[in-house]
């Protein structure tokens, strides 16, 4: 006997509104085919790779972090049909294109040297000793081509080979440590770990220290503000409101360290 189950026509498509991060396909919107690890899914155009995969039903455990292009959790490699070139991007920032073949690369192994920041000498030689593979770089520039943040990876690696820690620190500042550079490296360098070491050396030993802050820290440690803070903590809302309204505002255009308030008793 034939199956007696009857199928109802789908109800009319009500005006849907996306909530949170869940995307919907409004009536009339177009879908395009993408291939996730070789398998075809139809997803709405204009979505990012990340949201398109969620639309298709994937739930991320790995390969998803801040969803805002800064944490480096979702590096993705892809090729487009009929195009030999390999492309790189963050899944949360890259918009899907028809017939893209993609795979996520949520983790890539890279050696990291352990060091003691208090004892290390801030010299190029110290970096070379921890990362001798630096000199295996053949300057092919695959690292820079793979960087989803547009960091000139090869340039900072070259700067370190030449001993310029400050230059490497500044050039690598936008690095999000996703590892795509390391995944493409012929010389098998862990570029982003080397850059991290260079930046910390630069921040700790090479950049001038903030003397005004050291002075303030010493004042705090001496207990200078303890009584004032105790006093504030014990105040009524009215007393606080009065003080709050009486605050002088540092002028916007005053050069830093030049302006002082009339009332100096709370400094």
């Amino acid at each position: 006997m034939a199956n007696a189950h009857t199928c109802e026509a789908p109800t009319a498509n009500l005006q849907q509104v996306a909530t949170g991060d869940r995307a919907i396909l409004p009536a009339g919107a177009k879908t395009i085919p993408i291939y996730v690890m070789g398998k075809k899914y139809e997803v709405p155009e204009t979505l990012t790779i990340m949201k398109a995969m969620e639309y298709a039903g994937f739930t991320f455990l790995r390969g998803c972090g801040c969803r805002g292009g800064i944490c480096g959790a979702c590096p993705t490699v892809y090729r487009k049909e009929g195009d030999y070139k390999l492309h790189f991007g963050l899944a949360c920032q890259t918009v899907v294109e028809p017939n893209m073949y993609l795979a996520q690369l949520p983790f890539y192994p890279a050696n990291r040297a352990v060091y003691d920041i208090e004892k290390i000498e801030p010299t190029p030689e110290a970096i070379h000793a921890l990362y001798p593979e630096l000199f295996r770089c053949v300057a092919c520039n695959s690292c820079s081509k793979a960087c989803p943040m547009g960091v000139e990876v090869l340039d900072y690696i070259s700067a370190l080979k030449q001993g310029d820690i400050a230059k490497a620190a500044k050039l690598s500042f936008d690095c999000i440590q996703c590892g795509l550079c390391a995944s493409r490296c012929m010389g098998e360098l862990p570029q982003y770990h080397i850059a991290q070491l260079a930046r910390r050396m630069y921040g700790k030993f090479i950049m001038p220290r903030a003397e005004h802050m050291q002075k303030r820290a010493a004042e705090i440690d001496s207990g200078k503000y303890d009584a004032l803070l105790d006093q504030l903590s014990g105040m009524s809302k009215d007393e606080l409101e009065k003080l709050y309204k009486e605050r002088e505002r540092e002028p916007d255009m005053a050069a830093q360290g030049t302006w002082m308030p009339q009332d100096k008793q709370y400094l």
């Binding site: 996306a18 909530t19 949170g20 991060d21 869940r22 995307a23 919907i24 409004p26 919107a29 709405p44 204009t46 979505l47 949201k51 639309y55 039903g57 739930t59 455990l61 998803c64 972090g65 801040c66 805002g68 800064i70 944490c71 959790a73 949360c92 920032q93 918009v95 990291r112 920041i117 500042f173 936008d174 440590q177 070491l197 930046r199 910390r200 630069y202 921040g203 700790k204 030993f205 950049m207 220290r209 903030a210 005004h212 802050m213 303030r216 820290a217 705090i220 503000y225 004032l228 504030l232 606080l240 003080l243 709050y244 605050r247 002088e248 505002r249 540092e250 830093q256 308030p261 709370y266």
Partner: protein
């Protein structure tokens, strides 16, 4: 890609009204701001925090009777992933001095301080080490380092910004430690923006009396997180990291001290018993609960886990009813949805407009009021724009800025925003932006004192998961300071507690059994299972085909 053809048609309406609006702005005329009474009215009716609907009193636990958003209340009235009486607590898998739950800024700062004091530390974290809201904070970190400033003024600005609701001892701790925290970060090798003589760059922000905002490019939080994480990796002998391994329940000993947590390897679906002499909860906020369906600026794992665990163990919370919404989050393009558009855009004169290109509010109301007005226009008046992915938005007329201040102002004053939109084919100096309020920050959380101690001996908490520092409203730059100040304090306090000698008795999950009994007694039927660990973004279509899920739900 840029705007769709339909959206470009709508933009013509914005362009049609623009010359007159620019002329108005040139004459110094504004759309009238609301009176205090009108403000209260719009907040009461449309601000998600003030709405009666979608909120209800809690039926169980230390905060029983207080009113919270449904999404938060459901989490607090939830059942455990575990059958508490079936867990073998004699088989201890990890044993340590300090267990830190959460690997963001606060947890990592705590780990460094605790290990410095000689404690063995395990950081157990849900995603990768460093996947946290800390990483996403762009603006900066507050600290009264300048000569014209002092902790006194940091205190006043902070408590005034919080409408004088903040917990005083926590504000005192924050303003006291802030310069010390920044000095510590400098000592670890963080690259702050400085002038050639080493003076820290400092800027004003909403509610400041002194320039107190220090930064590292426009990725201050990412720089903090990178440096802290790198340092823990140098201390492998003292700090172990368990990634993709969240805590799903706290463990107590029979005397009621905190004694560790049940950890869950999300990749192998195994549970482990982690015994610790002290525990620090540093799991961050709740943005990914998408309260009332709002998009969020938060990272993927912000699902309120720590507050839930603590609540079952009997630790209450403060200000958890209060959520910070930022009025102008991106509504289009889709890849930027929820991300912030700085208040500076409106400060430079851009109007907020509806689908007809009309103004409907003063653009520089306080954040909560401005958010409420946008919500009212889109939902009540139905004058919002609907994007191709079904989102609501309103126009922010950025092209006005160049017209008012001269060609090139947008590119000069808003370089990051310009690039962010240009990447997706939208020139914000020529085309308006589409915006909608976005869920930004969990103002409240676990109740602590200035030493980061909770009501349970051996249990500490720090970071966005705690409440009281900011009261009902947080100032810019105080969240990064809060995670470092209280992260450090919790690490120091936990290590000190351990070094004073802790004798743990047999482990127990009886608090979970008791809490679940309380749920039944209060008539909470079919409680959800929490922490949820990850948000669910499957479409209805996909969910309806997940036949096994519905079978399991029915069982």
């Amino acid at each position: 890609m840029g705007y769709t053809a339909d959206m470009k048609e709508l933009i013509k309406r914005v362009e049609a009204t623009r010359p007159e609006r620019v002329a108005m702005a040139r004459r110094g005329e504004n759309y009238p701001a609301l009176s205090l009474e009108e403000r209260e009215q719009v907040l009461n009716q449309y601000h998600p925090d003030y709405q009666k609907e979608g909120r209800r009193p809690l039926r169980v636990g230390p905060n029983k009777g207080e009113v919270f958003p449904d999404e938060v209340a459901r989490m607090l009235e939830s059942a455990s992933m575990l059958k508490a009486d079936k867990v073998d607590l004699c088989r201890v898998d990890f044993d340590t001095d300090v267990l830190i739950i959460g690997g963001g800024g606060a947890g990592t700062a705590a780990a460094l301080m605790a290990s410095q004091a000689g404690a063995k530390v395990i950081i157990s974290t849900k995603l990768r080490h460093g996947d946290a809201n800390t990483m996403m904070a762009e603006g900066g970190i507050q600290g009264a380092t300048q000569e014209c400033d002092s902790p006194f003024y940091h205190y006043l600005d902070t408590i005034g910004g919080g409408h004088f609701t903040n917990q005083p001892d926590l504000v005192a701790a924050l303003s006291h430690d802030a310069p010390l925290s920044i000095a510590w970060l400098e000592e670890l090798g963080m690259m702050f923006n400085k002038s050639p003589d080493g003076r820290l760059d400092a800027r004003h922000f909403g509610g400041s009396s002194r320039k107190r905002m220090h930064s590292a490019g426009d990725m201050t939080g990412a720089e903090i997180m990178r440096v802290l994480r790198d340092e823990t990796r140098n201390r492998r002998d003292q700090i172990s990291i368990l990634e993709f391994c969240p805590a799903v329940e706290l463990l107590l000993d029979e005397a009621g001290k905190c004694a560790g947590a049940v950890l869950y390897n999300m990749e192998t679906r195994e549970f482990f018993i982690g015994r610790a002499k002290a525990v620090i909860i540093a799991t961050g906020g709740f943005g990914r609960l998408h309260i009332k369906g709002f998009a969020t600026t938060n990272h993927y794992g912000a699902t309120m886990d720590g507050v839930i665990l603590a609540y079952r163990a009997g630790v209450g919370h403060n200000f958890l009813y209060s959520t910070q919404y930022h009025p102008t989050g991106v509504a289009y393009p889709e890849q930027n949805v929820g991300l912030l558009i700085t208040e500076k855009v409106r400060g430079l004169g851009a109007h907020v407009l509806n689908i007809d290109g009309e103004q409907f509010c003063f653009p520089l109301e306080p954040r909560d009021v401005e958010s409420a007005e946008l919500i009212k226009e889109a939902t009540e008046k139905k004058k919002g724009i609907i994007t191709p992915t079904g989102r609501l938005g309103l126009w922010l007329d950025s092209p006005m800025i160049d017209l008012l201040h001269g060609e090139g102002t947008v590119r000069r004053e808003l370089p990051a925003k310009f690039i962010q939109f240009d990447r997706h084919g939208i020139d914000i100096s020529k085309e308006p932006m589409l915006v909608y309020p976005t869920l930004h920050y969990q103002n409240g959380g676990i109740a602590i004192n200035a030493k980061s101690e909770t009501a349970i001996p051996g249990l500490f908490a720090s970071g966005e998961v705690v409440g009281g520092i900011h009261g009902e409203n947080r100032l810019m730059g105080n969240s990064l300071q809060d995670i470092i100040t209280f992260g450090r304090r919790s690490g120091v306090a936990a290590a000190e507690y351990v070094s004073n000698g802790v004798q743990l008795g047999p482990l127990t999950l009886k608090h979970v059994t008791r809490f679940e009994q309380e749920l039944r007694d209060a008539g909470v039927d079919h409680p959800m299972v929490a922490p949820i660990l990850l948000p669910e973004y499957a479409t209805d279509e996909v969910s309806s085909r997940r036949l096994m899920d519905s079978k399991m739900e029915n069982e």
